[in-house]
C-alpha cells in the first residue's frame, strides 16, 4: 500500500470540507449571493467590504466582540492560574477535584446558555434575587449594554476556567523541580517562587491559552445567540458579536456574500491578533534571555 493511500481519506475530506470552504469564502465575499438562490452569483468587487465599513452595526459588533472578549478572557485565565496553583498542592480527592473543575467544559454552549439565561432573568432570575437580598438591583441583564455583556461573558468564564486550569496545571507539573529547589535554597518565599519560577516556566502555556482564548472570543456565537434567542444580539445590538452578525447577515437577511465578507474580516482579525500575541511573547522571551 502506498503511503499516499494512508493520507488519502483525510486529505480528501480535508480538501472538500476544510480547505475549500476557507478559500472559497474569500471568493464568495466578492459577490452578491442570496441564500435563496445560492447558484446565482453577481460580481460585486469590494462592495461587500465597503458596505461593511460604513455599517454601524458592523462596528458595534466589532466593539462588542472586543469588550466581551476582554471581560471573558482576562478573569478566566487569571482565575484558572490561581486554581491551577491550588490544584498543584498535594490534595486529597485530587481526581475528583480535577474532574469537577472540568465539568462545565462537558456541557454544550446551548445547554449552558439556556440555564444561565434563566438564572439571569430580570424579574424571576435567581441572580437578581440574590442581588436583591443584599440590596442591589434588579439589574436588567438583557437590556443594559454593560450588564448584558457581563452576563454573556459569565457563561464563557464558567465553561472554560476549569479547562484552562488543567492546562496550566499540566504546565506547572512539567517545570523542572530543580528550579524550585534552587529558589528554596536562595531563601525565596512561596510567593516569590510563584512569580519567579512558576510564571516564567508557564510562559509558553500562557501564550498558548491566550491565543486559543483569543480565537474563541473572536468567533463567539452560541452564547449571545441563545441568551435571548435574538439574532441581533439584543434590541440595540448591545451584545451582538461578529460571529452573530455574520449569522444574521447570512441566515437572517440571507446575504451570503456579505456574511462571507464578515467571515474574512474575522479571519484577518484572528491572524493579526495571533501574530501580535506571538510577537509579544517572542520579544519578552528575548528580553528575558538578554537579562
Amino acid at each position: 500500500m502506498s503511503p499516499y493511500a494512508y493520507i488519502a481519506p483525510f486529505f480528501t475530506l480535508f480538501a472538500a470540507f476544510g480547505l475549500f470552504p476557507l478559500i472559497y469564502t474569500a471568493f464568495v465575499s466578492l459577490y452578491r449571493v442570496e441564500l435563496q438562490t445560492p447558484g446565482d452569483m453577481e460580481w460585486r468587487g469590494l462592495d461587500n467590504y465597503t458596505a461593511l465599513f460604513t455599517d454601524d452595526f458592523f462596528w458595534t459588533s466589532l466593539r462588542n466582540t472586543f469588550t466581551i472578549g476582554v471581560i471573558s478572557t482576562v478573569p478566566q485565565l487569571v482565575m484558572a492560574l490561581g486554581l491551577a496553583h491550588l490544584l498543584n498542592y498535594r490534595l486529597r480527592a485530587r481526581t475528583f477535584l480535577r474532574t469537577a473543575m472540568l465539568l462545565p467544559y462537558a456541557t454544550s454552549v446551548a445547554a449552558a446558555t439556556l440555564v444561565f439565561a434563566q438564572l439571569f432573568g430580570r424579574d424571576f432570575g435567581l441572580i437578581n434575587y440574590v442581588a436583591g437580598l443584599v440590596g442591589i438591583g434588579p439589574i436588567d441583564w438583557q437590556t443594559g449594554t454593560v450588564a448584558s455583556q457581563i452576563a454573556v461573558s459569565t457563561i464563557v468564564v464558567w465553561r472554560w476556567t476549569g479547562y484552562n486550569a488543567l492546562i496550566y496545571l499540566a504546565g506547572m507539573q512539567s517545570i523542572p523541580q530543580e528550579l524550585y529547589e534552587a529558589a528554596e535554597m536562595d531563601g525565596a518565599s512561596k510567593w516569590r517562587q510563584f512569580f519567579h519560577v512558576t510564571l516564567p516556566g508557564l510562559r509558553p502555556t500562557i501564550v498558548f491559552t491566550v491565543i486559543v482564548s483569543t480565537i474563541g472570543a473572536t468567533q463567539l456565537f452560541g452564547e449571545p445567540l441563545l441568551f435571548e434567542g435574538s439574532i441581533s444580539g439584543g434590541i440595540s445590538h448591545q451584545y451582538q458579536t461578529l460571529g452573530l452578525y455574520m449569522y444574521e447577515q447570512g441566515w437572517g437577511f440571507f446575504h451570503l456574500g456579505r456574511a462571507a465578507a464578515i467571515a474574512w474580516v474575522m479571519f484577518l482579525l484572528i491572524v493579526v491578533l495571533v501574530g501580535v500575541n506571538a510577537l509579544l511573547a517572542y520579544r519578552r522571551s528575548r528580553k528575558e534571555a538578554v537579562r
Binding site: M1, P3, Y6, I7, P9, F10, F11, F14, F17, G18, L19, P21, L22, Y24, T25, G39, L83, L86, N88, Y89, R90, L91, L97, T99, A100, M101, L102, L103, A106, T107, S108, A110, L114, V115, Q118, L119, F124, L126, Y129, G162, I167, G171, S174, Q177, Y180, E184, R203, T205, F208, I211, V212, Q219, F221, G229, G243, Y247, L256, A260, A263, W264
Partner: protein, 301 residues
C-alpha cells in the same frame, strides 16, 4: 468542531510514565500539603462549577409557576417526569438524542480512523510532499471552521443535503488536530525497529498498520475518540445552519427550545437536562481519562 474544544496543539507527552512522575512528586518542595484555605477555595470553585447543573435539576423538576415565584425554590420538586414527558412530546428530544448519537458516533469512528492512518503515514513513512502536506495540516489547525460555513452551506445546498445528517457528519470528520495528535503520539511511542522487524519478516504495510501500529496507537486513539465525541456532541454553529427542527441534533433541539418553541421554562430546563445527560454520563465513566487526555495534550509548550 470548535477550535476551543480541541486541546492544545503542543506535542503530547509519552503517555506512560507514572513511576517517574510519582518519584518527582514525592521529593517536591512545591507539592506541599494543602492548607485549609486551599480546600476552602477549591470547594467554592467546585460548587460554582456544579451549581448550574443542580439548578437545571431543580428547575426541570418544578413548574413554570414555581419558577416565577419570589423567593425561588431551591430544592427539586415533583414534576421531573411530567416535564420530561412534555419535552419529549413537544420538542422531539428523543429523535434529537438518537440523531446526536448517530452523528457523534460516526464522527468519532471516522475521525479516529482517518487520523490514525494519516498520523501513521506522517510519523513513520517517507514520501514526497510529506513536509509540505504536514505543514498545511498544522497551519490550518488554528483556523476556526466556523469561518468556512458559507461555502460549506452553498456546497450542501447544491448537493441538496440540507437537513440530512451526512451534512453534519462529513464536515465533522475533518480534524487537522487529530492528524497532528496521532502523528506526535506515534512518533514517540512506536519504535522504528518494530516496523523494520515486521518488514524483514515480509509483512505488507497494510498488515503492519493493523497488527503493529493500531495496537500501539490504541491509548492515543481512545483519547482522541473521547475528545472528538464530546466536541461533536456539543458542536453548535454548523448543525443549526445545516439541520432544522424536523431532523435535529440535541443542540439544534435546544436552540429551538430557547427560541420560544415551548413556553414553559421548567420544560425547557427538562430538555436541557436530557440533552446534557449523555455527555455527563461519558464524563462520569471516563472523567479521569478525559482529564488525563487534556493535560497530556498540554504538557510542554
Amino acid at each position: 468542531m470548535t477550535t476551543l474544544a480541541d486541546p492544545p496543539v503542543t506535542p503530547p507527552a509519552r503517555p506512560e510514565k507514572p513511576p517517574h512522575r510519582r518519584a518527582r512528586r514525592s521529593r517536591a518542595g512545591r507539592t506541599n500539603h494543602a492548607g485549609k484555605l486551599t480546600y476552602a477555595i477549591l470547594t467554592v470553585a467546585v460548587l460554582v462549577s456544579a451549581f448550574p447543573f443542580y439548578w437545571t435539576i431543580v428547575a426541570a423538576s418544578r413548574s413554570n409557576a414555581d419558577l416565577a415565584r419570589v423567593p425561588p425554590s431551591l430544592l427539586p420538586g415533583p414534576n421531573l417526569l411530567r416535564n420530561f414527558e412534555a419535552v419529549l412530546e413537544e420538542a422531539d428530544i428523543g429523535k434529537a438524542l438518537l440523531n446526536s448519537f448517530i452523528v457523534s458516533g460516526s464522527i468519532t469512528l471516522g475521525t479516529v480512523l482517518c487520523c490514525t492512518l494519516a498520523g501513521f503515514a506522517f510519523a513513520k513513512l517517507r514520501f514526497r510532499g510529506r513536509g509540505a502536506l504536514l505543514a498545511i495540516t498544522v497551519g490550518t489547525m488554528m483556523i476556526p471552521p466556523q469561518l468556512g460555513v458559507i461555502p460549506l452551506f452553498m456546497l450542501i445546498a447544491e448537493l441538496q443535503w440540507v437537513n440530512q445528517l451526512q451534512a453534519v457528519i462529513l464536515p465533522g470528520l475533518v480534524s487537522a488536530f487529530g492528524v497532528f495528535f496521532m502523528r506526535q503520539y506515534l512518533v514517540q511511542s512506536l519504535p522504528d525497529e518494530l516496523i523494520e522487524a515486521a518488514r524483514v519478516d515480509g509483512a505488507s504495510t497494510a498488515r503492519i498498520f493493523w497488527s503493529i501500529v493500531v495496537p500501539v496507537a490504541r491509548p492515543g486513539m481512545s483519547v482522541l475518540g473521547l475528545l472528538t465525541f464530546m466536541a461533536a456532541w456539543n458542536d453548535f454553529f454548523w448543525p443549526i445552519v445545516a439541520l432544522s427542527s424536523s431532523e435535529p441534533t440535541v443542540q439544534v433541539a435546544l436552540r429551538q427550545l430557547g427560541g420560544g418553541y415551548v413556553h414553559d421554562q421548567s420544560v425547557i430546563m427538562a430538555g436541557t437536562l436530557l440533552g446534557t445527560l449523555p455527555v455527563l454520563l461519558v464524563f462520569g465513566l471516563l472523567g479521569r481519562q478525559i482529564v488525563g487526555g487534556i493535560m497530556q495534550g498540554a504538557v510542554k509548550g
